[in-house]
Subunit: 216 residues, 2 copies
């Protein structure tokens, strides 16, 4: 496979939680001492232009995130080697059933269902690594019906990209086509029936790298 | 792909928790009112004959479980159609970093890491569906160094196989090669360096269906 075809062939999505301080605060969570993650199924991918299905009774929150597409797989990847394992990037939204998540957090239950519904990972097309000069200076923006809701920069990550890859690969082998979601900046909130969501990834010069659009 | 090659091509492992009353009691958990599940990465598969790696500082518990290998994928599968989506079975052990699991349960954090280490899903070869006449009357046995530790029967599942498939597929699409782990009977406990683990799946007549062996 080519990593660019990760939507079709990739086997896992590893999603980091609480990686931007402002977002950690808005949900009244504690700043983590080390990265943590959960898995999302690849059946949750929704290519740009699609519609998120909001299950009955669910409050579905958007979390716009930078995705890392793994090219060369590996285990126990060091921070100094981490970048060479990245084939490229994608812009993603980690949709979250927030009301169910509050329940499972209280009960100490897994997050897999509240993060894993079909269509709960809207995802852009592939951005080759060569187009990105500094992964830690990218703008992530999400608008609903034209109003800016999230507007963050990857420079604010608590744990940087090499640390994330080192941490995940110390637990589980990364494979070509895997996607790592790197956490969301502040501004999360619900999307509702009829909303039009537009996300933009741009670099420090304001140059657009990729867009992601979806409805409900 | 053929479902029999699920180890190589399957994309997800969906693992049911607390599905045998005696096991729920031994961990002082509540009997669930509906099924719940978590995801394990397919990078955690360990084919029979391999060695489980126990990470430093981890108490690694065995949970022997019946695995369902999905043949025909689907979404919103009804209980009456569920069996037709099963291509066959496998015997599996859902290895669990129990001490870390207790910590993440208290903190309301995801289970993905504590269940997802490389080698944490020892797995037998594929058992075609045609060899099993009654999925709800199979014996699951696990021995450590010859001593029986787990000895259960699938008739004791709280939620039966059709209900599990209905529940999971109401949240996420099942695909060919996916594996569903159906929960563990009582008798879980730690495995230690040097242990030899042997698991047996047999039918109500005592006929052996498949074995699974691994070391540490
Ligand atoms: Mg997120
Ligand atoms: Mg989880
Ligand atoms: Mg289990």
């Amino acid at each position: 496979m080519a990593a660019a075809a990760f939507l079709k062939h990739g086997k896992k999505i590893v999603a980091i939680g609480r990686n931007y301080a402002d977002h950690v605060k808005e949900l009244n969570n504690a700043i983590p001492k080390e990265p943590f993650f959960f898995l999302k199924p690849t059946t949750s991918y929704l290519p740009s232009g699609g519609k998120v299905e909001i299950p009955r009774g669910i409050i579905a929150h958007h979390e716009v995130e930078l995705g890392l597409v793994i090219g060369k797989g590996g285990r126990d990847i060091s921070q100094s080697n981490a970048e060479s394992h990245i084939a490229g990037y994608a812009l993603a939204v980690d949709m979250t059933a927030r009301n169910l998540q509050e329940e499972v957090k209280k009960k100490g239950l897994p997050w897999s269902a509240v993060k894993g519904f079909d269509t709960f990972t809207p995802i852009s097309s592939f951005v080759p690594r060569s187009l990105v000069t500094d992964v830690h200076n990218l703008n992530l923006q999400l608008k609903i019906n034209g109003a800016v809701k999230q507007d963050g920069n990857t420079s604010d990550m608590i744990f940087k990209v090499p640390r994330l890859i080192e941490h995940i690969s110390s637990i589980m082998t990364l494979e070509e086509g895997d996607l790592i979601l790197t956490g969301t900046p502040s501004g999360i909130g619900p999307i509702k029936a009829g909303d039009e969501i537009e996300c933009l990834l741009s670099d420090s010069q304001g140059k657009e790298l990729v867009r992601l659009n979806f409805g409900t």
